[in-house]
């Protein structure tokens, strides 16, 4: 059986070594807090205005834009060498579990990455080398979450009505 990491690499086309090349340099020290805030603001401004793909925008309709921005840049800062802002406020990233309410499909991953690539390009303080590293990490991570999403539909014990628990395959 393929691991989460193997699925992420296969589907994203990014191997683990390239995905985690973000750890070769301290991107937080290089780019600074404000750059991460700008990036996530650019990203979610695009997402919440996505009128071409209403199905994608609707994934975020129960989340507040300001909160989505803060969650994202605090995670990026923490993961890319800065202070653990995210964990101090919300605990472990627990990326798969926290994406559980959302339909993280291949199609959603590609749309997410489309907006992120545009957001990276429209955040001028991010140099080309950092941009490539971040995109590799984010592309791998997006498909890691697609792989994680499949855990939701794995065989599990569910108590059904009128009977003892039975296994549900979906």
């Amino acid at each position: 059986m393929q691991t989460l990491q193997e699925k992420a690499s296969q589907w994203s086309g990014v191997d683990a070594a390239d995905a985690f090349a973000i750890d070769d340099t301290n991107l937080f020290q290089k780019l600074g807090l404000q750059t991460f805030i700008n990036l996530s603001t650019n990203f979610y401004t695009r997402v919440y205005d996505d009128e071409e793909e209403e199905w994608f925008r609707s994934i975020f309709s129960n989340s507040k834009k300001e909160e989505a921005i803060q969650n994202q840049y605090e995670f990026f800062v923490q993961r890319m060498g800065g202070p653990p802002l995210y964990s101090q406020r919300k605990g472990h990233p627990a990326l798969i579990a926290r994406h559980r309410p959302f339909p993280v499909t291949h199609q959603a991953a590609e749309r997410w990455l489309y907006h992120m690539e545009k957001a990276l390009e429209s955040t001028p303080d991010i140099d080309a080398d950092s941009r490539v590293k971040m995109m590799n990490f984010l592309r791998h991570t997006a498909f890691f979450l697609v792989a994680g999403d499949e855990l939701k539909t794995q065989k599990q014990q569910i108590p059904c009505k009128h009977g003892a628990s039975k296994s549900a395959e979906s």
Copy 2:
């Protein structure tokens, strides 16, 4: 509704600031790789030999001891300031999702912490200050995972036999 972090703090008795005080110093640089290997070896040697609480030992019966040791010390090293050994090999920690196969109950968290406290005490290269910081982090994390375990039984859409999907509460 309480967040994962709030439940973790309430149940563990450790607030987030104390849990993430592990980030105030670089524990990996202070303690070194071999100390983390020794700690996880001590811990799992205790766990796999737990004859007092057979129910606890049985949680690990489908996992190989050597693999459990490596998973744990690679995660600790990565989270406590060292190289991202865990992610390079297995991807994001995704702590809640990876604990999904296991019954992470309050009782299991307490037994896990009992063995971890003994393991920390029997790893002499870990000084008292580091030991307190690690225990606060681990106690908070253990109950964060208990909170995460409850997500498994939340209301969700499940296709049952002989009919359209219905919501299952368990």
